[in-house]
């Protein structure tokens, strides 16, 4: 079973917080899923190349030409807190 410390570590990497009462349930669910997907580690795949993408496309290029984009005001219209054309966030530390 995945440990409480592991859940807390992964949660902090994921920028998620779980309430104390939910952690045991989460440990149970994650452990079942991870135990299941871990069955792949039994396969000998040393000689098999990985597939990242199902369709073989590489390095798609286009000419680097300026094109009109969306206006700054439209791009920022959804910001929860915007001032003077900038996104405002709380201080870092």
């Amino acid at each position: 079973m995945i440990t409480r410390a592991e859940v807390e570590h992964i949660a902090s990497l994921s920028r998620l917080h779980f309430h104390e009462q939910d952690v045991d349930r989460l440990r149970h669910d994650l452990s079942r899923i991870l135990d299941y997907v871990q069955t792949l580690s039994e396969l000998d795949l040393a000689d098999v190349p990985p597939t990242a993408h199902a369709v073989a496309l590489k390095n798609v290029f286009r000419p680097d030409e300026p094109r009109p984009g969306i206006e700054q005001s439209a791009a920022m219209a959804n910001g929860p807190h915007v001032e003077r054309g900038q996104f405002v966030v709380p201080r870092i530390g």
Binding site: E6, V7, I10, A11, L13, S14, R15, L16, H17, F18, L26, D29, L30, R32, I33, L34, Y36, V37, Q38, T39, L40, S41, L43, L45, V48, P49, P50, T51, A52, H53, A54, V55, L57, V60, R62, I70, A74, A75, M76, A77, N78, G79, P80, H81, F87, V89, P90, R91, I92, G93
Partner: protein, 486 residues
């Protein structure tokens, strides 16, 4: 006019012959939505005013100047950006988000003259197989309101089944078009990876996601695919289709070879599903097709690979939801890290959090090779399985879902059991193949779908084959809904 038996192609014909005006047609569907959606709850929002305004503009246009699908209504899964509408992906974290642009598929619908009716419910960020994971409400199956419509495009499938729109768009990452289509008794088509641009589709797992049609018949699926497919410079993974899609006319399957997948037989499916599937195979044979058994030995391992790859990609894609540029932001935070963490913890639902956790775990230091590395190699095994199969047969045929629609709440406590219900659909996404689910019959009064899968870019062949089978099976039953409501 009975909206319940109206296809999109018939809508187009009625508009062209002026038997019905665009405003009458849109009003017909809005009335239908008002009559039945209180029960089905397929929609997150209906833009009645916008749709009627567009319809009035269509009616004011000279028929000679009209575009091909001018006035035919559609509804969209709430994962496609529509300029001016709210787009939430069924998530509270995107509540109030209004995209500044249209997804390419949406822009193509507008160019064709299609009228947008509203946006449809889904499992949050397309993660789920029942539409119970929506951050807003659960959608019900029109055939039995105590059952789920499947997912994640459950709203799109239920909407068509309930005749609230003639056709809809959904998205499919591991079966999210085909499985709900199967459970709701409609046609669902997942195109070859790259056939349809993903620009403006909110990403779940980028190497697997594809947009596709959910419709009442194969002909409508062909027509809708033709509208939305195409290379798009804004999606570097898009390829389009080699040729325009023609509406199907095939009446037999003579000379076509079909592979029945060994791994999906045995105990993999419930008996009622198996029975309908066997009848579909008999129909294929009766139409002149040749069926033989083929093996895809790695498909079971494919489910495990999928539940590493998809969450890994999702954990990365969903990192952008941090409360800075759009969507929900927590009201309580003293510093930036706390703002991120609280915003995400408040905005995402339980299943999305689970998948972000799994994805982050399998990508984290020390586990990457054992999980993600092995999963990518397993993906190669799946690709090779299909290549071997398609060296012997033209198409693969299987049930779409191992079960009929299950009861609301039945599987919410067991995420792994929910995952395993995607056995027949997931391998198709891993290999990037096109697949169609079409209604094949009923078990216990609930629809059962059959899935046909072909090689990359075999869309036209799949549509022709599915059409021939659809004509032969000739399923006419429709769900009974809201007929007595005021």
């Amino acid at each position: 006019m009975d909206v319940r038996n109206l296809s999109a192609v018939e809508c187009r014909a009625l508009l062209a012959s002026r038997e019905v005006s665009a405003q009458e047609l849109v009003r017909l569907y809005i009335d239908r939505i008002e009559a039945v959606d209180g029960d089905v709850r397929a929609f997150l929002a209906v833009d009645a005013e916008g749709a009627l305004r567009r319809a009035a503009a269509v009616d004011a246009t000279d028929p000679a100047d009209r575009r091909p699908w001018e006035g035919v209504p559609i509804a969209l899964k709430d994962v496609l950006c529509v300029e001016g509408w709210e787009t939430t992906c069924g998530s509270r974290i995107l509540a109030g988000y209004r995209p500044p642009y249209d997804a390419t598929a949406v822009a193509k619908l507008r160019e064709a003259g299609v009228i947008l009716l509203g946006r449809l419910n889904m499992d949050e960020f397309a993660m789920g197989s029942s539409t119970e994971n929506s951050g807003y409400h659960a959608t019900r199956n029109p055939w039995d309101l105590d059952r789920v419509p499947g997912g994640s495009s459950g709203g799109s499938a239920a909407c068509v089944a309930a005749a609230e729109a003639p056709w809809t768009l959904g998205t499919d990452t591991g079966g999210s078009i085909r499985q709900p289509a199967s459970l709701c008794g409609v046609v669902g088509f997942k195109p070859t990876y790259g056939a349809v641009s993903r620009y403006g589709l909110v990403a779940f797992a980028s190497s697997l996601d594809q947009i596709g049609p959910l419709t009442g018949c194969v002909t409508d699926a062909a027509a809708l695919l033709e509208i939305i497919a195409g290379h798009d410079p804004r999606d570097s993974t898009s390829t389009g289709l080699p040729e325009p899609i023609r509406l199907p006319t095939a009446t037999d399957l003579v000379g076509k070879r079909f592979g029945v997948v060994t791994e999906y037989m045995g105990d993999a499916c419930e008996p009622g599903v198996r029975q309908v599937f066997d009848q579909a195979v008999a129909a294929v044979t009766a139409l002149g097709g040749r069926c033989e058994e083929v093996s895809l030995p790695s498909v079971e391992k494919g489910i495990a690979a999928y539940y590493i790859i998809a969450p890994a990609e999702a954990s990365s894609n969903l990192a952008r939801f941090d409360g800075v540029r759009y969507g929900h932001r927590t009201v309580h935070s003293d510093n930036l890290l706390e703002m991120y963490t609280r915003t995400r913890s408040e905005g995402f639902g339980a299943e999305v959090k689970r998948r972000i956790m799994i994805g982050t775990y399998v990508l984290s230091s020390g586990y990457y090779e054992a999980y993600y590395g092995q999963a990518q190699k397993t993906r190669t095994l799946i690709v090779r399985d299909f290549e071997r199969a398609f060296a012997r047969v033209d198409y693969l045929i299987s049930p779409t879902s191992p079960t009929v629609a299950f009861k609301v709440g039945e599987r919410t406590d067991d995420p792994l059991a929910m995952y395993l219900s995607d056995l027949c659909t997931i391998p198709v996404n891993l290999a990037g193949l096109p697949g169609i689910s079409l209604p094949a019959g009923f078990s216990e009064g609930l629809p059962v779908g059959v899935q046909i899968v072909g090689p990359h870019f075999s869309e036209q062949g799949l549509i022709d084959v599915a059409y021939a089978l659809e004509q032969r099976l000739d399923i006419k039953a429709r769900p009974v809904l809201g007929e007595v409501r005021p």
